[in-house]
């Protein structure tokens, strides 16, 4: 009798372990208990990276030509199944019209091109490694892109004292899940002296999906296995969308030994582009 029970239990455990980690956050790794840090929290330390085309277009999309002919296939838009749960992004009608305008003008409107800080959630799915360094009081999330950095406040729940590009993030643990509530996002550059170089909204991807300073993001992050995170972000901006909407994707651990972030200070590579018309020659 006992042997049968043990065998049945072993079989049950085996089944759970062999379930593939699905793309949606809902089911995959639901039963996984992450190792703990010494202060007792689920351990999110390490290097993580998204492996999808969300940074091109959050919504499902076909392949398409890129904006620069000479970059050919290297900068064409690859196809993607999309990461938005439940269909297209719920734009207000006038905001959808603006999205199409911004998309058509992406070379000028997309902050990524000028190495501007990408904001949240975009930094989480850009094609660069993200390092999480976790202490009891703060969790740092550092992207290789433009040395962008998020500081998640884990022991306070204050309102943002000022607006920033990467937002003001308050985090708390709900069991295995890190829940982060972020507000206080700048919606545009100041553009006082260079109106033509200003950006007017913040892109969430290269397809012109955008938000304003009305953005509010709630993220849920948890370990679903030794080398996977489940990442969900609920995005709300009454200036743009009719209701909150949610994206979901796995994040994969960068498992190569001695992994570290490289220094990608892209400001240097774009300064001639940004200041070009006021310069004599290039800075290179």
């Amino acid at each position: 009798m006992r042997q049968t029970t043990v065998a049945a239990l072993a079989g049950a455990v085996l089944v759970v372990v062999l379930l593939p980690a699905a793309g949606e956050g809902q089911g995959a790794g639901q039963g996984y208990t992450a190792p703990r840090t010494k202060s007792g929290q689920p351990d999110l330390n390490g290097f993580w990276q998204a492996l999808n085309t969300a940074h091109w277009d959050l919504e499902a999309h076909d392949a398409a030509a890129g904006p620069i002919l000479q970059l050919g296939a290297a900068y064409a838009v690859p196809p993607g199944l999309g990461v938005v749960i439940g269909g297209p992004i719920p734009y207000k009608p006038d905001a959808l019209a603006m999205k199409k305008k911004y998309a058509a003008n992406a070379l000028k409107e997309d902050g990524e091109i000028k190495c501007y800080l990408p904001g949240v959630p975009r930094v989480m799915y850009m094609p660069y490694p993200l390092q999480i360094v976790q202490s009891t009081e703060f969790i740092l999330m550092m992207s290789e892109f433009a040395t962008a950095q998020r500081t998640i406040n884990m022991m306070t729940n204050d309102r943002p004292p000022a607006d920033t590009w990467m937002g003001w993030s308050n985090g708390r643990w709900e069991g295995e899940t890190l829940v982060i509530d972020s507000r206080g996002f700048l919606g545009s550059t100041i553009g006082a002296l260079d109106p033509e170089g200003a950006i007017n909204v913040r892109f969430l991807d290269r397809a012109g999906n955008y938000h304003t300073d009305g953005l509010h993001v709630v993220e849920r992050i948890r370990r679903t296995g030794p080398d996977h995170l489940s990442y969900e972000a609920t995005i709300e901006d009454p200036n743009v969308y009719t209701r909150p909407w949610t994206i979901s994707m796995p994040l994969y651990r960068r498992v190569e030994p001695n992994m570290q972030l490289g220094e990608f200070k892209c400001e240097e590579f774009v300064s001639d582009l940004v200041y070009g018309k006021y310069q004599k020659g290039t800075g290179q």
Binding site: P160, P161, A162, D163, T164, L186, I190, A192, L193
Partner: protein, 140 residues
Amino acid sequence: MQAQFCAVIAATAVMLGTATITAHHAWNTVFSEDKPLVLKGTVAKVELVNPHGWIWIDVKNPDGTVTKWGIEGGPPNGLIRNGITKDSLKIGEELTVRGYGSRDGSNLVAGVQYERADGKAFFLANEGAEATAKARGNLK
């Protein structure tokens, strides 16, 4: 030309050699001492950003139209550590700014002094170097 960017130089510190190899930008590249201004308007937007915070005020012109002026200030971290936030100045409140206008004539001002409707100075009133020194230097 030894233009210093936002420098606070202690009088007793000796200036040591030529300090830089590239031209700084100093505020006098943007703003001019020949253009002192007193600007009165209402607060339209407050952006407490690094390296320079900006306050935008709506200024009524004699013909009744309204022009937005940008007042460039200092870094916000010291303000925020002392309890000032982006909401400390209310949208629509009256503000008088004394400072210097831009060299190229655009509606931007280097803000030196900010005065609210009640006559009180905004930002951290500098309590005076002596009081600060006594408080700081005599404590062990």
